[in-house]
């Protein structure tokens, strides 16, 4: 599903060049749930952005669902995303001037789906917000907004779901509900999940955990469900890769 080969990312900022990713090779199979943990600045977000086609690596190859993202233009990447990739943000990022229904329908409309609003309605029902389709984000709680974002991400039946700290702006209880929903929908759709989180408990719900440090994968461990992993840092490019 996800195949990253020798990925490097260097960004040039006001203070000079910064090495964000330093040679990452990784393969994630279809339907896998993978958590990405690590301290701030370790490169987790950059790795997720590269997988989503939102950032081009300085070096290396990215293949998602069998498609090499390298040769794709900006617009082709956008088209690829709306067909294959769902994204859930920490800050929800719903469009404030659109209703819940319209927000969910957005990627479907971009894809030219005639049943965009029908499908959006179904997804909102699935997350328990069928009765709020006409409401705007400003009229919803944080949890409700994140559920709308989940519905939006799953509306396209994504091959790959990327979630960046999906409970970061939610209280514990609400966050738990959202996470339960996320994993439930992931299982129903069979999507591959790549999840960034600081929470160990959340990370442990995934079948695999990648720990990052200084732009490298420090450890890559299969997690037996129900077991809390311990961190292991290898600091080398040849991190264990599992399929």
């Amino acid at each position: 599903m996800i195949e990253l080969t020798d990925i490097e990312l260097k960004l040039v900022g006001a203070a000079g060049p910064v090495n964000i990713l330093r040679g990452i090779s990784l393969a994630i199979g279809s339907g896998e749930t993978v958590s990405l943990i690590g301290p701030s600045g370790s490169g987790k977000t950059s790795l997720l952005m590269i997988a989503a086609g939102l950032e081009r690596p300085t070096k290396g190859r990215v293949s998602i669902a069998g498609t090499d993202l390298g040769p794709l233009s900006e617009d082709q990447l956008a088209a690829f995303r709306r067909a294959r990739i769902g994204i859930v943000f920490q800050s929800f990022h719903l469009i404030p001037t659109m209703t819940a229904l319209e927000n969910v329908a957005v990627p479907l409309e971009f894809a030219g789906r005639r049943d965009a609003f029908e499908r959006a309605r179904i997804e909102l029902d699935a997350v328990g917000l069928g009765h709020r389709i006409g409401h705007y984000p400003a009229q919803m709680s944080g949890g409700e907004q994140q559920r709308v974002a989940l519905a939006r991400a799953f509306a396209i039946s994504p091959s790959l779901l990327l979630a960046d700290e999906p409970t970061g702006n939610l209280d514990i209880e609400t966050g738990q509900q959202v996470i339960d929903l996320l994993f439930q929908r992931q299982k129903e759709h069979g999507s591959t999940l790549l999840l960034i989180t600081h929470e160990r408990a959340l990370a442990s719900r995934c079948s695999r955990q990648l720990a990052m440090r200084d732009g490298r994968i420090a450890s890559d461990a299969e997690i037996a469900q129900g077991v809390t992993p311990t961190a292991s840092v290898t600091g080398s490019r040849d991190a264990r890769v599992g399929l």
Partner: protein, 892 residues
């Protein structure tokens, strides 16, 4: 396809179209974005509406004025056709022709002196009308009465009606006597409306109207008197005027009358309206362009607030093209709203100013909704809105979707595509084309467009330069380490100018453009006014006396030359003649060069002499000897001669009093018309006009210093005390009285009055254009104020941090004021340079007037511009000075 380690790598997807929804989808999303309200578009709407309103107003008022001329064409012309002759009436055959064609009204026009019973007198435009007048339209009098009755002979006295200006000037009341020539009239009414007044731009004297049958009794109708005879013809409805004109040409091929149709009613006011509209439209376009800066700022600010939305849409699969289309449509929708407001305002302006404008220029405006000017204004507004929004749209298109995940570490690379540049080029070209159509003068519009592009470029360059300079100044100050010569307040001011994202460019552009227009307009006005004053030579005559008969000239010369205070007199015989053949080619087949077209349009001054003028400088050829008695020779003014392609040796035929006078050109003579001496286009050799009944024209120069006891021509003591204005006025009036008492048929034109009339026109025109320029400046200040307001959030933050570090409110206010003061100075200096360059070009090449630098204006603009920026900067930051630190620090 390639295979690596068992993974299939597909070629880039080929099936999915980037934007299956196209423009309809983009419109759907644009409408959803509008649900957020238009709060962020207030400046956008205001700037656009103001510029569009001015262009729409100018166009609508022009159309109203021209519409009024069209509607009143028959009344203005006085008929369906007008036949016009100078010096003498039509002959009986011509009279019979006109009588057979329709109803005829005869009107005579001349200048004369009107005298009140107390001896006060003034020059008037005397008009005698027959009982058929007016054929069209209605004359209105106060008190309301029938014109024919008011002018008819009652109890042995003829009646007269006069314009209010004459009544006021001579202190008349209804029933008072008014003397013209040797006839005393009774004033019976004030003219409130004269249907064929013609709305003349230039009027020497107020109107006095009398019955045609009374004119001979005034003694003013002499052979050679400068009288215009007008024969207006009202045709039956089914008669084509063109047919009558053709028949007249065929039957009277040698007739000297000039024929005018409805399309030539009031040509001078038509030209005046068109020219004024051109200038006002260009100033309106300047306002729109300055507003465009505000539009661009507003769109940019609004889109900056939409970065998260744009990035989200891109994450969800929106292509760059779709993003571009969504926000382009949104800008287009808002542009239509702003345009609608603008044209609504512009469309009602004719209704609001019809009365005062009509009174000022004796015009009848036809206020209505004129689609043409409104459409043109809308087109200009739309193109400006899109042009200035393009760059912010390109930036929005380039927003990386990854923005949502991290603050931008690296600078966003925004590169317009070839299509973007092509689109911008097409918009600019379309705008120039529309401007040329709207303004009406293609060459002037092209110059305006070129100048505007140069101005924009220079202001951008200046902004970059200023930012670079301020950064360098601060860097070099920092590099010295230790103490800096500049305190923190100045360094902060400089840093605020040079920092990335500073509104330096839009501040310079908006204020600078507005000041440039104001400088240009003010300098052109000042130069025109100066030229008017300068063109009056020190030795200008005080009076022109016209219609002096040949039998009166000796006595006239004696009277005037011996009059106290008269320094010099000059007199020449004068007739008027029309060019009929130019070197063998009929005049109506000639295509005159620039500077000579006017000579073919009507009758020109003609004189004859044995001795050449004292200051006659020749361009080519020679004068005839004093005792010359050979075939007719003529000296032609060089501008006319060259414009007609004539050289010494060529021939020209001038018809004078019905007699064609053919003469060989002896020389082309250079004439300085600004000297106000008596001068003529044609000076014939003696004998050419022998026996022609002529009038004389004379000038009188008066002393401006107190003379000796003997006064007179040779009087005046060099180095004497200067006379006061009152004393000069008294002497001039005394001379005027003496001459017109002795010779009632002579009219005295005071040069001062003529110049005052011209000055009034220049002032009136200048005021209108200056007013429009002030609106442009107001627009630029509005844009500047908005740019300052947009910085409020950041200023608050700066103010909080500075206060925490120990700065007083005074320190902060000083820093912001210095910042905007520097911007103001920079804008003013560049505006001075550009405004001067533009004014110089206009004055030198379009108005063909000598250029003069006016340091007072320069200083006023620099000081005013700087102050305006400083005041705005100070006001804008006043609000932030009271910001409490705690809420900001707590959020941190």
């Amino acid at each position: 396809m390639s295979v690596s380690e068992g993974t299939i790598v597909a070629t880039p997807s080929q099936g999915a179209a980037p934007d299956p929804g196209g423009w309809p989808l983009a419109l759907k999303f644009a409408r959803r974005e509008l649900r957020g309200g238009i709060k962020g578009f207030r400046l956008f709407l205001l700037c656009l509406a103001l510029g569009v309103a001015i262009i729409a107003a100018v166009g609508s008022v022009t159309a109203s004025a021209l519409g009024g001329l069209e509607r009143d064409a028959k009344a203005l012309l006085g008929g369906d056709l007008e036949f016009r002759l100078l010096y003498r009436p039509i002959d009986p055959a011509q009279q019979d022709f006109l009588d057979a064609a329709g109803t005829v009204s005869e009107v005579r026009d001349m200048r004369a002196m009107a005298r009140a019973s107390d001896g006060n007198r003034t020059l008037v435009e005397l008009k005698s009308v027959d009982t058929n007048y007016p054929l069209y339209g209605e004359a209105r009098l106060d008190p309301p009465t029938d014109l024919r009755g008011a002018l008819a002979q009652q109890n042995g006295r003829w009646g007269a009606v006069a314009e209010r200006a004459l009544v006021d000037r001579l202190g008349l009341a209804i029933g008072d006597p008014v003397t013209i020539g040797t006839l005393e009239y009774e004033l019976r009414g004030v003219i409130e409306r004269e249907p064929d007044r013609g709305a003349s731009v230039f009027i020497l004297g107020p109107r006095l109207m009398v019955a045609d049958a009374s004119l001979e009794e005034t003694g003013l109708v002499q052979e050679g008197s400068l009288i215009e005879y007008h024969y207006r013809l009202a045709l039956p409805p089914d008669v084509d005027p063109i047919g009558i004109v053709e028949a007249a040409k065929a039957e009277f091929s040698d007739a000297l009358w000039r024929v005018r149709g409805l399309d030539e009613a009031a040509p001078s006011i038509r030209r005046f309206i068109d020219r004024t509209a051109t200038y006002l439209t260009l100033v309106g376009l300047s306002t729109l362009l300055v507003g465009g800066v505000g539009v661009g700022n507003a769109v940019r600010a609004w889109l900056d607030g939409k970065i998260a939305t744009v990035a989200t849409l891109k994450c969800l699969g929106a292509s760059q093209t779709l993003i571009y289309r969504i926000y382009l449509l949104l800008v287009a929708i808002m542009a239509l709203v702003g345009i609608a407001i603008g044209i609504a305002i512009g469309a009602v302006v004719p209704f609001a100013i019809a009365a005062p404008l009509g009174e000022r220029y004796a015009l009848t405006l036809e206020p209505a909704i004129y689609a043409g000017p409104l459409l043109l204004a809308s087109g200009c507004g739309f193109l400006v809105a899109i042009a200035f929004s393009l760059w912010p749209l390109i930036r929005a298109r380039a927003v990386p979707p990854g923005t949502l995940f991290r603050d931008l570490v690296q600078r966003m690379e925004v590169k317009p595509t070839a299509f973007d540049m092509l689109l911008l080029g097409a918009i600019v070209a379309a705008l120039v084309l529309l401007a040329a159509i709207t303004a009406g003068d293609r060459m002037l519009t092209l110059w305006f467009a070129g100048g505007t592009i140069v101005a924009f470029y220079l202001f951008h360059l200046a902004a970059r330069g200023l930012k670079h300079l301020t950064r360098r100044m601060n860097e070099s100050s920092g590099q010295r380490g230790g103490e800096s010569r500049r305190g923190p307040i100045m360094r902060l001011a400089l840093a605020n100018i040079g920092r990335p994202g500073a509104p330096t460019t839009s501040a310079l552009l908006s204020l600078g453009l507005g000041l440039t227009v104001l400088v240009m307009v003010t300098l052109v006005q000042a130069n025109l006014e100066r030229e008017l004053v300068r063109s009056i030579p020190a030795e200008a005559p005080a009076f022109y006396f016209i219609d002096i008969q040949g039998t009166q000239i000796d006595e006239f010369q004696t009277l005037v030359s011996e009059f106290p205070g008269v320094k010099a007199i000059e007199q020449e015989p004068m007739l008027r003649g029309r060019i009929t053949v130019v070197d063998g080619v009929p005049a109506d087949q000639i295509e005159p060069g620039e500077g000579a077209a006017w000579a073919l349009r009507g009758d020109r001054g003609v004189t004859w002499t044995a001795t050449p003028p004292a200051d006659g400088e020749l361009l080519s050829g020679e004068w005839w000897p004093e005792d010359y008695a050979g075939p007719n020779l003529v000296s032609i003014e060089s501008g006319v001669g060259e414009g007609l392609g004539l050289e010494p040796g060529d021939t020209i035929t001038v018809n004078v009093l019905g007699r064609p006078i053919e003469a060989t050109i002896a020389n082309l003579r250079i004439v300085d018309w600004t000297r106000l001496d008596i001068n003529f286009v044609f000076v014939f050799s003696p004998g050419a006009l022998a026996g022609a009944p002529s009038m004389h024209i004379a000038t009188a120069q008066m002393e401006s210093t107190q003379g000796g006891a003997d006064g007179g021509v040779d009087g005046g003591v060099d180095g004497g005390d200067a006379l006061s204005a009152q004393e000069i006025e008294t002497r001039e009036i005394a001379l005027q009285r003496a001459v017109t008492d002795a010779f009632p048929n002579v009219s005295a034109i005071r040069v001062k009055d003529a110049i005052a009339a011209v000055a009034s026109i220049i002032e009136g025109l200048g005021s209108a254009i200056s007013l429009a320029a002030m609106v442009t400046l107001a627009s630029s200040l509005l844009v500047l104020a908005a740019a300052i307001a947009a910085q409020t959030h950041r200023r608050r933050y700066d103010a909080v941090v500075l206060k925490v570090l120990g700065a007083t409110r005074r320190d902060i206010a000083k820093s912001f004021t210095i910042e905007y003061g520097l911007l103001g100075i920079a804008a003013a200096i560049l505006a001075l340079i550009l405004g001067h360059a533009a004014a110089w070009g206009l004055v030198t090449y379009l108005l063909e007037t000598p250029w003069g630098f006016d340091p007072a204006i320069a200083l006023a603009i620099v000081v005013g511009g700087t102050l305006a920026a400083m005041v705005l900067g100070f006001l804008g930051t006043w609000r932030v000075l009271g910001t409490k630190a705690a809420p900001y620090l707590r959020n941190e």
